[in-house]
Amino acid sequence: MTDLKMGQISRRDFIKLSSGSTVALLLGFSINRCESRTQIDEFSFEPNIYVRIGSDDTITIVMPRSEMGQKVYTALPMILAEELEADWNKVRVVQGDFNPVFGSQTTGGSASIRTHYNRLREAGATARMMLVLAAATKWGTPPDNCYASEGYVHLKGTRKKLSYGSLAALAENVEIPEQVILKDPKDFKIIGRSIKSLDTAYKVDGSLDFGYDLTLPGMLTAVIKRIPTFDGSVVDYDDSKTMEVPGVEAVVQVSSGVAVVAKDTWSAIQGRKALDVTFDGGPSAHLNSTDIREKMLNALKHSGEVLRNDGNINVAQKKANKSLELLFEVPYLDHAPQEPNNCTAHFYDGLCEIWAPTQNPGASFEAAKSITSFEDSKIILHTLRMGGAFGRRLAADYTVDAVELARHFSDPVKVVRTREEDIQHGTYRPATVHLLKAGIGENNEALYWKHTVSGPQVGWHGTITGGAPDLAYAIPNVNVDVVMSPFPVPTGPFRSVAHTQNGFVNECGIDALARLAGQDPYAYRRELLRDSPRHIGVLDLVAEKSGWGKDLEPGHARGIAVHYSFRSYCAMVAEISQEKSGKFRVHRMTAAIDCGQVINPDGVWAQVEGGIVMGLTAALHGKITLENGRVLQSNFHNYPILRMDEMPVIDIHIIKSEEPPTGVGEPPVPPTPPALINAIAALTGEYITRLPING
């Protein structure tokens, strides 16, 4: 066997060689043929880490990423099954545990399809070629006389065929091909079809287990009375009343607070109510949103790090015929997935076994390693289903809770959060303020654009500036800078990250500039995007499908926006009216997206629907406020999310494309709030620049 080993050719070379060509070098899939953790009764052929072909014809595909509602559980297997020429009805999927052989397993950045497209195609094609070679050997004929189709290898010109399962044992002995031939996309049978999700039946009959539902023999359940401030500490606690609560087993201090461990959830919650903890609020015990806002506004007066500087902004400002100045403000946001954060850990036989509903098994693994000082081989991490995530489960705080606590017990311990804990101890979308100055020349042409982002100090400024410097409009003088101020509020990526803010600023800003120039906002954008055909593609499609420029019901208005993020282009038109109460009602959202090659159109529609709802929630309702160093909001009554009776009709259109697949989960979020606000401006003449609209 002449297996190529990982490392002979760098991953970069691998990607370069394989993208855009139909012949790819094979690399890395052979090294772990026998390293799967799931027990298999029948014989199975394992050509690589992603797929097993059983002698009973079942095709088991290993999911290397996490599933949180974005349907990669179906879409990623579709890619492999396509190249394998599998019978889709024989495909089953198992969740891959944390395992470095998969490379990064972080599910974020709308990247699962993009980063796995070539990899899974090659994995499937390798298996297919080996099965064809096995059949050719059996028939004593050159492989060119054979072809694979829907779970069988056929002998050309005859009715002879062998099922994949019947070839599994033979294929095991076939040398792994050094080159794989990928299918011509014109011949795709699975990719590009709206195939039903493989797990929907389990989601509607209650049988699908999420992290919160995990039950293990002898398992204890814990809740934590958390340190309410961001940098406070536990001074002392009295657990005498807690220990009297039936079902409570123990009270243990952990780094996030004091944990009550009980036989069941309700007993733990009751025990926590009875727990008396004295906290020290810490240095930021008096932090509040008003002060944070003041500091961010003051920071605007200082010059920041320049991220882009085209032309000469100072000269342009003096030359402008008309100018505008807008101050945009967005609050902190919590992800509030429907399933609150939780994690389970069990220490036994020198091992630490973890069950984490996580987008980032690597971070949870590292956290466990750091707490336990165990060797890698002594930590087992299972990735569980998530009831939503939206970026929240990229952090590992829930795993820290479980590992810190479970090490004190011989039984498994599940640490759950109540809704209040989840909202008040988040990793928030940063609050930011943005000063936009823009102007037009004598002929109403766009002349300059100066955008300053002011926000919290973050590790990488892109998490507050993403989407700001890469403004796509052809404006000759552009200056974008950022100033950051330190606040002790934990922040993290929220669905579409900084594009939530900068999509809002860019798209309301350009809309206001169009109105300043007395031009139609669609036509104005179109002209300034003349060098970007894919922007124009989605813009034209959304304009056509929304009936842009056509008559509306009296009292209705439309707004438009387009934004590029996560390598995809998404345009949106909102149709709104104002109720007598003053509140705005969203009637219709029309969306167009260009995300390259589509794997599953229905999956794209679902993600666009979800992205629009998340964008509308953020624009209309979303706000996390700080008072006395703690989060004021606590549950859905004061942190509302969009409800059914606020739900517009959504109409989605996908650009047909053979470009490589790009992001889908996040790109629909950024253009949603500005489309809505631009529609409101069309109705009222005023741009709402401080979010949320209702609050």
């Binding site: 039903k196 509607v204 009959d205 009831g387 109540t418």
Partner: protein, 156 residues
């Protein structure tokens, strides 16, 4: 102080010894092991925990177990007599769920709506369903699936 409470769960007689104030949700999930009913808010405002008590929807996270004594409770696991209930089937056909966490509550609420009103219009659907939150944003498909299931649900 533990109390014995007997009730019907999905057609079977069950009996538990728990604190009488324990919400039905935690008895169903932790004591009896039916985890299809979900916790999400704990104050009866998001609907993920919706079950039927004597045929009517209730938020199990704020229903004390003592109040269901001798009553009949149905959870998502007990909805279908055989295979999938027509509303569950409509959910599959319309590919409603994203993460799926809120869907048991959505389905239990939709079943009650369709029992009382076999052919609801959009406004009636909105009024009946607005108490069940979906952070993934599956509302448009829920509306569609309820229309698809219209006329398929018998009041029994």
């Amino acid at each position: 102080m533990l109390t014995k409470v007997s009730f019907q769960l999905n057609g079977k007689q069950v009996s538990v010894e728990v604190d009488p104030n324990t919400p039905l949700l935690w008895v169903i999930r932790d004591t009896l092991g039916f985890t299809g009913t979900k916790y999400s808010c704990g104050m009866g405002i998001c609907g993920s925990c919706t079950v039927h008590i004597d045929g009517k929807t209730a938020k199990s996270c704020i229903t004390p177990i003592a109040s269901v004594a001798n009553k009949s409770v149905m959870t998502i696991e007990g909805l279908a007599k055989d295979g999938l209930h027509p509303v569950q089937q409509a959910w599959v056909d319309e590919e409603v769920p994203q993460c799926g966490y809120c869907q048991p509550g959505q389905i239990m609420t939709a079943v009650e709506l369709l029992k009382n009103n076999p052919n609801p219009d959009d406004a009636e659907i909105d009024a009946a369903m607005k108490g069940v939150l979906c952070r993934c944003g599956t509302y448009q498909r829920i509306r569609k699936a309820i229309h698809v299931a219209s006329g398929e649900v018998q009041d029994d």
